[in-house]
């Protein structure tokens, strides 16, 4: 087993285990913490794949931003000691079946498909400069338009979030 494989196995195991814990834990704050582990492990995957920039973003934005946001909202809406009630079987069984069936089908499909084994290794283009140029480039492989769109989306989300969360004085 190569170190890469080992690293992958570790990340993968963390992701899977903590994912499951996230969705099954009955203490919500713990669930959030497990989610944090999942996200960090995902960031590790990105490192593994040499997408350093993306991994950094993952860590800062997800692990640093969203999870904190979630934890804040948890603190706002529930008490630390609260345990979530166990969802009833009537819900669990169909959901489990659906998810399991979907998983089986998808995994089966993935395994059946023959992906190209060897691809010519390309230049390492994950240089931050390349990314920056691409983001503001309007040419081929340029992402200026999505970039702008996402900016506006963020702005809109920000405004929307503020308006929604603002206390009504009516």
């Amino acid at each position: 087993m190569t170190p890469n494989q080992l690293m992958f196995a570790i990340f993968s195991a963390v992701i899977i285990i903590f994912s499951i814990l996230t969705v099954t834990s009955r203490r919500i704050l713990r669930a959030a913490t497990y989610l944090l582990f999942v996200l960090v492990a995902t960031g590790g995957m990105y490192f593994l794949l040499r997408f350093n920039f993306l991994a950094a973003i993952q860590l800062t934005l997800y692990a640093g931003g969203i999870v904190v946001l979630i934890i804040f909202s948890i603190l706002l809406t529930s008490h630390i000691g609260d345990k979530l009630e166990q969802p009833d079987l009537k819900k669990i069984i169909p959901a489990f079946l659906a998810a399991a069936a979907g998983m089986v089908i998808t995994v089966f499909t993935i395994l059946k498909h023959n992906f190209p084994q060897e691809v010519a290794a390309g230049t390492d283009r994950t240089d931050i400069r390349v990314i920056a140029k691409s983001l503001i480039s309007t040419e081929k492989f340029g992402y200026a338009l999505p970039f702008e769109v996402i900016s506006i989306l963020l702005l809109a989300a920000m405004v929307g979030a503020i308006i929604l969360a603002k206390k009504r004085n009516d």
């Binding site: 494989q5 992958f8 993968s12 992701i15 899977i16 994912s19 499951i20 969705v23 919500i28 669930a31 989610l35 999942v38 996200l39 995902t42 995957m45 990105y46 593994l48 997408f51 920039f53 993306l54 993952q58 934005l61 997800y62 931003g65 969203i66 946001l69 979630i70 804040f72 909202s73 706002l76 809406t77 529930s78 979530l84 969802p87 819900k91 489990f96 659906a98 998810a99 998983m103 998808t106 995994v107 993935i110 992906f115 060897e118 691809v119 390309g122 230049t123 994950t126 990314i131 492989f141 996402i150 989306l153 963020l154 920000m158 929307g160 979030a161 503020i162 929604l164 969360a165 206390k167």
Partner: protein
């Protein structure tokens, strides 16, 4: 194959994560845990994107950019979702998704 790790491994990890997210989405009652399940789903997709990118099309960066954008959208979504959740909490004093069925019939 990326330095010894086959593409399928990534994909399977992503798949499992995805369906765990789905399962969470379907069974959890608390809105925030549902939000967390959504994050799982989004992340699983990201893993697939970057894996495909790196392994099948190493010359390109589309996969990465998609992930990037998804992260941005996820951030926006999370902020709005949490704003909504807080709003709902203010009104109903709980955030149990089963009790939120005003939009029926």
């Amino acid at each position: 194959m990326f330095e010894g790790v086959p593409l399928t491994w990534f994909l399977i990890t992503g798949t499992i994560m995805f369906f765990v997210g789905i399962y969470g989405f379907l069974v959890r009652k608390n809105l925030i845990t549902i939000l967390m399940s959504t994050e799982l789903i989004l992340n699983s997709v990201n893993i697939n994107f970057v894996a495909f990118n790196k392994i099948l099309y190493p010359d390109h960066l589309e996969g990465m950019f998609f992930s990037l954008f998804i992260i941005a959208v996820a951030a926006a979504e999370a902020s709005v979702a949490i704003a909504i959740i807080i709003n709902i909490y203010r009104r109903l004093v709980n955030i149990d998704v089963e009790k939120m069925d005003e939009m029926k019939y």
